[in-house]
Every structure is written in structure tokens, then in C-alpha cells.
Symmetry: C2
Subunit: 461 residues, 2 copies
């Protein structure tokens, strides 16, 4: 970890980012922060979270603000707080104070933005109210972020180029998010010792995030039903033989994310079958991380994971055949149906608002093949990228009991042998990995992955 | 509390509610549940929360669903889960199973709704995506909820009439929300003993909600800056002389809210000045609750609180003059600028999506007078209503240091005496009160309000 004195100030970082943008985009750029989304009535909103593209250049999660970037210069547009704002929300910094804090060269009330948007490129934000305001100010229709056109597409490609590789400030924020996440996972493991319900473990995890002034970067998955890939409820009772799968990551106040998964036995001891499959997933995880380096193809990582899984499952007698041919038939995908990971940054799936524009190198398109359709990243890795590595093994009823698929894979799966592993519903091991020139740095290394250490954490040893 | 066997089943409750609706509205009613709101990219959404009007009749927080109510009959419109849904989100009940669970007489795919909406009244939901779908299905523009017109206004008035007073199932849900909230506040008090930051107390409070399968009904206020009425951050360090103000309420899984505030000394001991002002606020709280009964005017409660506050502040030498004339001049509002409370139900400010349609009796309009403009409820109380009673005392810089206001109130405020109370930033005491035929029931009674008991809870005695 770089010493903190090597991290430039917020103003310097933001200046550098917009100077780099100026090298890539010839026109002015206006980025809106977005507004609060109502929950059940207009005054009861979800917690505000500014657009990631805005955050990248403005550094602060400002509500109802916009910035105009032109040739390395930043103008801030927002309104000063009203007396009612001050009554209900307390003293707040003025527009000018905020401009100074983030190094904006000028600052104006929001209404003046209308005169400064001619010929500007933008990114459509997520909340519809602001999207209207954007279209109105720009006097043109806005295409959804997933399919930007014209100037907006040029801007999107520039943002991808900038945001793919992280600067020192971004990495410092992500390290902070990860430190909180590690503490949260350890608290979750400790809580499992006495918990009777999944929700108790989830509470322990999210309490750490709240305590540290962070928020969950995405809906935490805290479940003994690990085969449900995006399980968003935590209402099951814990049984001693269960495996607990926790996929939870903190996001810092300025929006930088982490994304970590651990799977561990509720009782503190893996059964022999759980241990066997855990070690297969761990081998896939380790082999992928060993291979991470600048220039490596992420898709190759995915195949390494698939091969390692196929090999391990064949050695356990669950699959039949040589690993290469098993992977060719997508037999591994019966148990590992998702991709090996994705980009991480301000978004937990970084820049996924652009569809596959960030995840897929120019000219590449997502496959519809069973084992590849959920691969979110297909690019050569570059130093400064942060990616997740997250192989998994799942027994998904919907996949394994689908008659057609079952028939297709009948020759390569030993269904009887598989039965012996029924105490494994789902295992995933996920780390956040920084690509370096010579290899990689596992940012999440403080949280152990090997079965013995993980079980020890749960037992509190 | 009624014995649980006196609470009808979900189906019976929902049937009764739609039969009552049929008595009030002649046309069919179609209510949409709403969709997920994106956070930073489309797949990363805020936790889903269905529209309260939908929840009232459908009982379950279903995503992308609609119900059609006609003459006491309920039709459910939603799509069965796709194979990808099942892969990512696990096995889910089918449309027909859900229909059975909630007692819907028929169930159809969502697309069939288009043929069943002719002449139907509706309520515009909060998320814009669904609002488009509503307008498209109905083939007409939708007015914002705050100003419904035509059939939709008729429906809104009927919903207000139905939802103002709570049935046994609703009360059972609110009691559950309150029980979790009481536990959460006690956990917050306990955490204060060792906490060094506001966020640690907030974490303890929200962890209880998560553990119990609930969510915060609104952004929790956990702060030593109690004078900031809607402080949504908890990043201050705790000082031994601080008062901690906690305004936090749980919401049950089916959407019923609670809303409770307690203020207590971080050290476990009130200073004499804090104690004096706490007792003034408590007197206002108690006098209001004593007066709650069916037929009482809520606005009268507000004036009782104002008078009690003025009286107490005069006795402490902070205000000068007799209470009636002080209140007439709005002198109390310098320190108590908000209303005495609001309706509580599925929304923490119940039905505030209808603007003042629910809060204000027909023909009444909100005053713009300093002491009244934030009064959210002005109706005669009826048995079955649940209201909050939440007087407060705040030293808001923006109010007290406003030169004009200061000059206006110069004759009635003893500014020097006020200086002696500078260790009080904000105090609020808030309970949830059920109006009964003969008086009231304080639903939140399990959480003490008197200064000694509150301080004891903090000290853990």
C-alpha cells in the first residue's frame, strides 16, 4: 500500500482527471450528479448517491449539481442552500466553498447551466427527474446510457478509457472500502458463531459499514442458499451443516466500491464433501490470480477457472472426461454458470451503465454460449485495473433438474456421485485484484481464503 | 394489545379492505406496485419497496405487479419468473401461488392488464418507469399524486378515508414495527456507553432492524446536533456533555412504519440545564398525549404543546410574558418550529404522497404562519388513527441569529438567560399514539420517556 503522503490532494487528483479528459474529448462535457429517488412518497427518499461519472470528476456526492468540464477547466453549477434547507438540514457549505474544496475554477447557480451547455456531451444519469432536466437543458433527446450516440458516445468511450485504470486517489479509496469490508466479513464470521438466522450475520456485517461511515455498495448476499446467485433476502434459519455464503462490499462516502465473497461452514468445521468442493473452487481462484498480469486476457482467466473446476470435479468423480473436453462442452457451467468476475471501481460492476462498452474491448461482443453469456469482462488487462476474481460452485435446481440439460450432460456427469455432495448448495470465493505491470496485488488479502483459516475465523481461533 | 387470534388472516383482511373500497368508489381501481429504482447503474438498484396503496390491498411487496379491484374482487397481474430470474434469484412462487396467498380471485400475466384498465382510477406511483407504464396502459396523462383529478381524485379521497383509521391487521404490523424500534433504541442507548462516534450508535440501531428482517422506515437521525431537524449524517464525535437525539423507526417487511425519537445524555447524566429543558419538552409531550381522544382536534394538540413549551420556557426565564400571548406571537416557534406530529401507517408521514389531502380535513388549508406552516395534520382525531406526538426544543442558529427575527422577538426572549442553556442543541421526544374511543394508547410505551429512566437506560442500570 502506498504511503498516504504519496496520494495527491483531492484538487490535484480532480485536476489531473479533467486534464486527461481534455486530451480525449474535444467538446465541453457537462455531467449531472442526479437527484434523490423517492421511496414511498416524495419527501422520503432513498439515500442519495451521485452518478459515478460526476463523482469521478467532482469528488463529492453533491445532490442536484452539475459540472462543466472544458479543456481542463471545471465549472460547478449548484444552488446555495435555502433558509428552509438550513432549518431542516443544518448549516451547509455554500457553492463557493464547495467549488474551492474541489478546485472548480468557477461556480454558478444551477439555472445558469442552460447558457453553458451548447455543444456539450453528457451521460444520462439514472434518476428520471434529472434525465428530463438534462434533455431540457441540452435541448435534445438523450439516448439511454447503454447505447450513447454521437458526442455522447465519444464521451462514453473517453470515460471508459479514463476509468478503466485507477489513479492513486482512486486506489486509496478502494483500499479504504476494502479495509471496511474485511472488518465487516470478520464481524459476520464472528456473529455466525451465535447466530440462529442469516439476518443476524447480515446485521453484524452491515453494522460495521454503517459504523465506519460507509454503505453497502450493493445488496449484500448473506445466505445459506448460496446456489441462489443474487439472493437478496436473509431470512433462513442457520443449520449446523450449512455453508454460509457472504457476498458483501462497502462503498466509501465518495462512492468507491469493494466486492468480496467468502463461504464458510456455519459450525466452524467443513464436512469432508464441503471441504473437497471448497478446495476445487479455491484452486480455480488461486490459478486465476496467479495468472493476472498486464496484457493477460481476462477471458483466458475465465477459461483457466473453468478448466481448474472441470479438472477438480473430474478428480472428485462428479464429472467424467478430460478437463479440456468437459470445458468445451460447457460441462463446468452446469456448476459455475457465471463469469469469473468484472471491473471494480466507482461501481461494483464498473461502468456497467454503459452496457458492455467498458467490459468488452472494441469489436468484441458477448457470446450467447451457456458458459460465456454472463462473462462481464473481455479485455486484455492493463496495469491499474481492479478486477474481481470469483469462481464458484453451485447446485442450482433449475439447471441440474432441467430434463433437456440433464439429458445433454448425461454422459459427463456422475449424478450418483454428485448426490454425495448434496450438503454443498453454493460456494464462491471472491477477491479484488489490482493488475500491476509485473503481476497483481490482491487488495483483499487481509481476509483469508484457505479453508483452514476461514474455519478458524468462524470458530474465533 | 389484542390477542393474536383476534387478528384475521391476510386474505380476510385484504378482502375486507377491498369491500370497503367498493363501498366508496364506483369504478374499477388499478394499483401498480412500482419497480426498482436504479442506484448507480440499472442492475444495482435500491432495495425495492412497493407503493403503499398497492401494499394496503395486496399485502405483499411484489415487484412489477398490479392489482385490479372491482366491486370487492381482486385480480392480480404479474409475470411468472423467467429461467434467468430463477437462476439468479432462486425458486420463486408463481403468479397463481401468490394470488392464492393474498386471496386474489384471478391472476393474469402483466400484459393482459391493458385490456382491463378501461375507466379505471389509479394512483401514480413514485418510480417514473412504472408511471410511464401506467399512463400508457390507461391511455391518458397522469397527474402527480399531490394533485389528482377526476376519477383519480375520487379514488385518492376514498383511500384517505380507508387508510386514516387502522384495522386489526394494520395495528398488529405497526406494533411489530414498534417492538423492533424499541429494541433498536435500547441497543442504541447501550452502544452510546462505549461509542466515540454517532455512527457507532446508528450502526447498533440499524443492526437490530436488519437482524429482525425490518428496514429503516426513513433515514435514521442519530446525532448530537439535534437542532438539525433532518440531519442525515452521523459523523460527529461524541463529547461527554452532548445530548444524543435519535429519531429512528423500523418498517416491517409488508411496509408498516414506526417513528420514535428519544434524546438522552451521552454521559448517562443530564446537566441541570439539559434536564430543565428536557422536562419542558416532556411536559408538552405528556400534556398532548393526555388530550388525545376521538374527536379531539389535532391542531389543538399542537397549541397545547406550544402553550406548555411557552409556559415552561417562561418559567425557566428564557421567554418573557404569559404563555397565551407568547404563543400568539409565535415566540414558542423560535425553539419549536415544526408541527406536533403527523399520521403514521404504511408511510411514516402517512399518505403524504397525496400532499395535504390526508393530513388536512376537507376545506382546511395549511397556514403560512411561522408557527404553523410545518403542521402536517389538521383534522379531528378518530378512533383507529395512529399519530405521532413529537414536541421539541432546538437552538437553530439560522432562526435565533437571523437579525430580523431576533429584533422581532427581542422583547420576549431573554437572550442572556438563553446563553446559559447553550449545552442544549436539540431535544425531541416522539411517541406513536393510537387514538381510541375513550382516549389513547401509547404504542411506544415500552421505551421510557422520563429523564431518569432514559438516563438509566443509557447507563445500563
Amino acid at each position: 500500500m502506498p504511503a498516504s503522503d504519496s496520494i495527491p490532494s483531492l484538487q490535484t487528483t480532480l485536476l489531473h482527471r479533467r486534464q486527461r479528459l481534455a486530451d480525449l474529448v474535444g467538446c465541453p462535457v457537462v455531467l449531472w450528479s442526479g437527484g434523490r429517488s423517492p421511496r414511498n412518497f416524495p419527501a422520503n427518499t432513498y439515500p442519495f448517491r451521485a452518478s459515478s461519472h460526476f463523482l469521478y470528476f467532482a469528488g463529492l456526492s453533491l445532490d442536484h449539481a452539475a459540472i462543466r468540464l472544458d479543456n481542463g477547466r471545471m465549472e460547478l453549477f449548484m444552488d446555495d442552500p435555502t433558509p428552509a434547507d438550513i432549518l431542516w438540514h443544518g448549516a451547509m457549505p455554500t457553492r463557493d466553498e464547495i467549488a474551492q474544496q474541489i478546485g472548480a475554477e468557477a461556480a454558478y447557480p444551477l439555472e445558469q447551466l442552460t447558457h453553458r451547455v451548447v455543444g456539450a456531451a453528457t451521460v444520462a444519469v439514472q434518476d428520471t427527474g434529472t434525465r428530463y432536466a438534462q434533455a431540457q437543458a441540452l435541448r435534445r433527446g438523450l439516448f439511454p446510457t447503454k447505447r450513447p450516440e454521437g458526442l455522447d458516445r465519444e464521451l462514453a468511450l473517453a470515460l471508459v478509457e479514463l476509468r478503466l485504470c485507477h489513479d492513486a486517489s482512486a486506489l486509496a479509496e478502494m483500499r479504504r472500502a476494502i479495509a471496511i469490508t474485511v472488518e465487516a466479513h470478520l464481524a459476520g464470521m464472528a456473529a455466525t458463531r451465535t447466530a440462529t438466522q442469516e439476518s443476524e450475520v447480515r446485521a453484524a456485517i452491515e453494522a460495521v459499514m454503517i459504523r465506519r461511515g460507509a454503505t453497502p455498495a450493493y445488496t449484500s448476499i448473506v445466505t445459506t442458499r448460496g446456489e441462489v446467485l443474487h439472493s437478496d433476502r436473509s431470512c433462513n434459519r442457520l443449520q449446523p451443516g450449512d455453508l454460509m455464503l457472504v457476498d458483501a462490499g462497502a462503498e466509501t462516502e465518495s462512492g468507491w466500491a469493494s466486492d468480496v465473497t467468502r463461504t464458510y461452514p456455519v459450525s466452524g468445521t467443513f464436512s469432508p464433501t464441503q471441504r473437497d468442493l471448497y478446495d476445487v473452487v479455491l484452486a480455480a481462484h488461486d490459478r486465476c490470480i496467479d495468472y493476472v498480469h498486464s496484457g493477460a486476457e481476462y477471458r483466458t482467466l475465465h477459461w483457466r477457472a473453468a478448466l481448474t473446476m472441470a479438472d477438480g470435479l473430474a478428480q472428485l468423480g462428479i464429472l467424467k472426461g478430460d478437463p479440456e473436453s468437459l470445458v468445451e462442452q460447457d460441462a463446468h457451467a452446469l456448476f459455475f454458470p457465471h463469469g469469473i468476475g468484472h471491473l471494480l471501481g466507482l461501481d461494483v460492476h464498473d461502468m456497467e451503465d454503459f452496457g458492455d462498452l467498458a467490459g468488452y474491448a472494441p469489436g468484441r461482443v458477448r457470446s450467447d454460449r451457456f458458459g460465456l453469456c454472463y462473462l462481464r469482462l473481455d479485455r486484455p488487462l492493463q496495469a491499474g485495473m481492479v478486477v474481481t476474481i470469483e469462481p464458484g460452485f453451485y447446485q442450482v435446481d433449475a439447471l441440474l433438474n432441467d430434463p433437456e440439460r440433464r439429458a445433454n450432460f448425461d454422459g459427463v456427469v456422475n449424478w450418483e456421485r454428485l448426490e454425495e455432495f448434496r450438503d454443498v448448495r453454493g460456494i464462491r470465493i471472491e477477491d479484488d485484484v489490482l493488475v500491476t505491470e509485473t503481476g497483481s496485488e490482491v487488495l483483499t488479502v487481509a481476509l483469508p481464503t484457505d479453508a483452514d483459516s476461514v474455519a478458524q475465523c468462524v470458530r474465533g481461533e
